[in-house]
């Protein structure tokens, strides 16, 4: 079957019936060069949906890693409920099914005047449209003593891969009776329920193999997403194992002692057998270097197109974007990427741009037979992204509902990763 652009259609309609079946290749229409930087959920989704669109495009995806490892569901691996391999997704489908060129290199510089992206290898890629999806970077130094080197002893495991495996190894090596300290970051950060889901699933692991272990959450905040649900789940599944200390109690997280494996708050020092320090976050480094991020550390965008408000002609999607009231999550990144892809395709083809549909949804697993779900709808008609509807599971839901949500979570992961990489 052929695929026809609307522009080609206009051309055909103005010609004779004999030329009406002229395929794209014969029309000689120049392809728009789309370059997408970052092969995470946002970048991969925008590349795929642009390649699937009716626009005539050549899509290049720049990503240094050979595979993407999902941070979502990685705490199931920590709990021994999912293999590490099941979190890994390749780019072969995007290349083979959609004709996307995958360039395994690092983008080092963007020249918005010449419209080129410089790569670590020295190559320069010209573009007509650029989408930047650099994800998050960590604010090293915001917690005294926590720098990149410290992550080898006190892993953040908040970008999945070797850090996730390191944390799992440390948990396995930990003696029963030890304290696992989890430092939860200030808002905004990637995956608001994530640190608390991780605490739940590490507790599940401890309950089986190290039942005398304790989990201490030192939080940079005074409350967190789904707090009532998590605390209810902890009391039902892991009574007495998890303690959560808000910033108003500790005075906030001030420093770490890497050698001593301890975390210092305003008034105390907490010694850990294993410490998982999730530091404060900002948009990925390239966004900072390219002038896409403002003083907040995140990238302001037009919610109808996800075009940067600071660098016209460059789009930013995913966790790096400052998208109003939208959470930072894989689901939200995927949703933003589709809006961005449709907006770029509409502008290339001159076709109608439909109102964006922006969502975030989440399945959070707290035990192998117990999950909660949430959904947030957004509207962007006023020029700012605002929450239009919010749903979150309730405390006291029956056991069958919670079991069903675990099954749905598994189904969601399969469908979602297929939507992004398949």
């Amino acid at each position: 079957m052929n695929c026809w652009t609307r522009r080609e259609f206009g051309c055909i309609a103005g010609a004779t019936c004999l030329t009406a079946l002229t395929p794209r290749a014969v029309t000689g229409q120049a392809k728009a060069r789309i370059v997408v930087i970052g092969g995470g959920v946002g970048g991969a989704t925008v590349a795929k949906y642009l390649a699937m669109s009716t626009a005539t495009v050549d899509v290049t995806l720049i990503e240094p890693k050979q595979h993407y490892t999902t941070c979502f569901f990685s705490s199931l691996y920590l709990a021994g409920l999912r293999s590490f391999e099941s979190l890994i997704h390749g780019y072969e489908g995007l290349a083979q099914r959609y004709g996307i060129s995958i360039v395994h290199d690092s983008a080092t510089i963007i020249d918005p005047v010449a419209k080129t992206v410089g790569l670590e290898s020295g190559a320069r890629l010209p573009y007509d449209r650029l989408v930047v999806a650099p994800g998050i970077a960590f604010k090293y130094g915001a917690i005294e003593g926590y720098d990149e080197a410290a992550t080898q002893t006190l892993p953040h495991a908040w970008t999945a891969g070797p850090q996730t495996m390191l944390l799992r190894q440390q948990l396995e090596s930990m003696e029963d009776g030890g304290v696992f300290v989890l430092v939860a970051p200030p808002n905004p950060f990637r995956c608001p329920p994530g640190p608390y889901e991780r605490a739940s699933l590490v507790a599940y692991y401890f309950k089986q193999y190290k039942p005398r272990a304790k989990i201490l959450i030192l939080d940079a905040k005074d409350n967190f997403f789904g707090q009532e649900l998590f605390q209810d789940a902890w009391s039902r599944h892991y009574p007495g194992m998890i303690e959560w200390l808000p910033a108003q109690f500790t005075g906030g997280i001030k420093a770490v002692d890497v050698k001593g494996r301890s975390v210092k708050t305003a008034g105390d020092t907490f010694r850990a057998a294993v410490a998982n320090v999730i530091p404060p976050q900002m948009a990925g480094q390239l966004a900072q270097d390219a002038g896409l991020a403002d003083q907040s550390g995140w990238c302001p965008i037009d919610p109808m197109t996800f075009e940067s408000k600071l660098q016209p002609g460059i789009h930013v999607v995913g966790d790096a974007a400052s998208a109003g009231e939208m959470s930072k999550s894989a689901f939200a990144s995927n949703s933003q990427a589709k809006v961005c892809a449709f907006a770029i395709a509409a502008s290339l083809t001159g076709s109608e741009r439909f109102p964006p549909h922006l969502f975030n949804a989440c399945f959070t697993i707290v035990a192998p037979d117990d999950a909660m779900s949430s959904a947030i709808g957004y509207q962007a008609a006023t020029g700012a992204i605002k929450i239009s509807d919010f749903f979150l599971s309730k405390v006291g839901e029956d056991a069958e509902t919670r079991r069903r949500l675990v099954r749905e979570a598994d189904g969601w992961y399969a469908a979602f990763t297929e939507d992004v990489f398949g």
Binding site: F9, S335, S351, H357, A375
Partner: protein, 119 residues
């Protein structure tokens, strides 16, 4: 066909397109009709992209039900029921859709064929 051309790759869209090309040869006034239909097809695909974040669109059901190739009216009814029903992920999704958008997306989804049924 290039690998990326899955765009309007639904059978209905293709049939409609071919039919409309024939019409255009006869009378250019149908161009407007086609432009509108193409836009509708596009919109259906775009709305369905939201569904694809949770529901596989190849007909496989792995914990979350398949929503393709179903009766258009039943699917529309289900979405309307979610819209007026109790709070859930699908309630939030359905609330965001106008009646026109529901009609558009169910028309698109109903026309999709399971992977095993595709030629």
């Amino acid at each position: 066909m290039s690998a990326k051309c899955r765009c309007d790759g639904n059978a209905l869209g293709a049939r409609a397109f071919i039919a409309l090309q024939i019409c255009i040869c006869a009378t250019p006034v149908f161009l407007i009709t086609h432009e509108s239909l193409a836009a509708d097809n596009n919109r259906g695909a775009q709305l369905a992209a939201t569904c694809a974040a949770c529901h596989r669109l190849d007909g496989r059901d792995n914990g979350i039900p398949s929503i393709i190739g179903l009766d258009e009216g039943k699917l529309a009814g289900a979405l309307q029921a979610f819209k007026s029903g109790e709070r859930s992920i699908m309630h939030t999704v359905a609330l965001s859709l106008s009646s026109e958008e529901i009609a558009t997306v169910v028309h698109y989804l109903a026309a999709q064929r399971k992977e095993t049924e595709r030629p």
